[in-house]
């Protein structure tokens, strides 16, 4: 009975994965279809014309460039801001902490349209016009929350004694930050940067209202979707999926390698302990 259920579990997992991945496969498949509309049915033959068209389509590349610019700007701002928030919250306790924490997490739940419109209205009263810069500011307001959550989680495993030890040895506060705290936070900062980057790329709600006339990828696709869209979009989608897969594989390989190294080190430490017990 247990085994049957296990099998059922495996089956469900497999089906779920298929459910998640099939639309992506369809999307990619349409990139090769020699049909003017993005579709896999009817299949009109293999072609790479859409990749060529993609290569030549300036508007997509401008939009893509804008998207990257915004994403990089968001990472550059959100990571320090979110980290500062996490460190601040972590060092306080009591009611103030709870309130501050709530304020930092809430932006994730706010509907994007609200963020977009509020950002637009706020900066316009200072005569700051719409544009990609406003998109950056609007996106940072909630993306920094993700960074805060990641960094805060990582801070839980930090031994404050290490900061004290460093101070005791004569380090300045800046040196303690640079050599002790930040290295511990690097995994969270990396994850925060990655999350910020991808969240920014796929953001639509905030960007739509704040961008002024500039195009980003999401806005461009959106504007073309119902009108005259060609499978160049699918070609782009396939490229992005490939990049994502490569990154994912690279990340996994790295993670496994590091885990192996750490396990070896710890085994050595245990052997040293045992040797010590015998020797004395």
């Amino acid at each position: 009975m247990q085994n049957n259920r296990r099998l059922l579990g495996h089956l469900y997992m497999a089906l779920f994965l298929i459910y998640l991945l099939v639309p992506l496969a369809v999307m990619s498949g349409a990139a090769f279809n020699a049909s003017k509309l993005p579709t896999v049915i009817p299949w009109k033959g293999w072609t790479d014309q859409w990749f060529i068209a993609l290569y030549n389509d300036n508007r997509i590349w401008t939009a893509f460039g804008n998207t990257l610019l915004v994403a990089i700007a968001v990472v550059v701002i959100a990571v320090p801001v979110g980290t500062a928030g996490a460190i601040l919250v972590n060092s306080i306790s009591g009611r103030v902490r709870a309130i501050l924490y709530g304020m930092m997490v809430a932006p994730i739940l706010v509907p994007g349209v609200v963020i977009g419109i509020s950002t637009l209205l706020f900066w316009h009263q200072f005569s700051v016009g719409s544009g990609l810069h406003l998109s950056v500011l609007g996106q940072v307001s909630y993306i920094a929350s993700f960074v805060t959550l990641l960094v805060l989680a990582r801070l839980q495993s930090f031994d404050q004694g290490l900061e004290e030890a460093a101070l005791d040895l004569g380090a300045s506060h800046g040196q303690v930050m640079r050599r002790i705290l930040l290295p511990h936070l690097y995994p969270a900062l990396g994850a925060g940067a990655a999350v910020s980057f991808f969240q920014s790329i796929e953001n639509f709600n905030v960007t739509l209202f704040t961008r002024g006339g500039a195009d980003t990828l999401t806005v461009y696709v959106f504007s073309k979707v119902r009108s005259g869209i060609t499978p160049t979009i699918n070609a782009l989608a396939l490229l992005l999926i490939m990049v994502t897969l490569v990154l994912a594989v690279w990340y996994e390989v790295n993670r496994r390698r590091n885990a192996r190294i750490e396990a070896i080190r710890e085994a050595e430490g245990r052997r040293a302990e045992d040797a010590e017990l015998v020797a004395t």
Binding site: A165, D168, G170, R179, H184, E262, E276, L277, T280
Partner: protein, 357 residues
Amino acid sequence: MSAGIDLDDVCCDFGKFRAVDHVNVNIQPGEFFSFLGPSGCGKTTILRMISGFTEPTEGAVRIGGKDMRGQRPNQRPTALIFQNLALFPLMPIWENIAFGLEVRGVDKAKRRARAEELLALVDLHDSADKMVSQLSGGQKQRVAIARALAVEPSVMLLDEPLSALDLKLRQHMRAELRAIQKRTGVTFVYITHDQGEALAMSDRVGVMSQGRLQQVANPRDIYNNPVNGFVASFVGENNILKGDVQNVADGMASFATAIGTFRARLPGAAGKLYVRPEHMVLQAMPGAENSVPVTLTEVAFEGNFISVHAVTENGTNLVAELRNDGSASIPAAGSQMHMAFDARNSSILPDSATAGG
């Protein structure tokens, strides 16, 4: 070069709770000084006040004669060995040791050389490039010491560093720490709740209870001449008898108890009678003075000594400790014998200090 530490009437309060109460002590340069006491007696607070992580509420902490008020931990000439060692897990061993030099701007080659020197000093060769997780407990201990020594502190502060190690390793490390202290000549301030450790390693010991210093003396005096009941009880075992003091003469007194009247030393105020088990003599015939007839209840062979529990006629329990030198026969439980002690090996002591012993 090492420095002395002066605690001038130091108090430390946390809200309403007084953790350290008017502590006065002068630690000499180059001395190995231990603060000994149970958990919560204030010894950790004293260490944190010397190192700068806590400021005294009253009184002054002076290192090398200079008042340390307002000096942050990274400005003081002290180095602290934390109880959990606090070694930096993301740096190799040599960088851990050289960290104090790194923050002072020493260049890499010199740092590395100095780290290797110190590794040799603490007897840890070939470990420079290892990571902390690859070391055993004792090895990590030595790295912590090397790291502290690297900044050439005037004072080394050690927070129960051996408590996490198991018995045999602890005894080994005791000797090592003492040797390192003698070799470097740095003032060591050591806190522990283990009296064996404190007595074995220190030049002088300060016994603390509830924020107050009970007695400051060298280990032999602490053990042989405790000034009050707390010190006597905390350091070593005792037979304790209640009674009244009569006839005081020349530092000796008659002490009348429920099981007889004894002659004992009276170094200070009156209190209870304290006799250590190893000063109890077991004999078949009654002794000349300070002798009590007993029935043996339990005889336990504990390796290098034999502990004998006995009870008097009126039900008072006494303990004697006999050295196992292989010669004397071991008495049997149930036999009737006499327990006696030399008056010079006993003391009448008050309970604990109301103001510093």
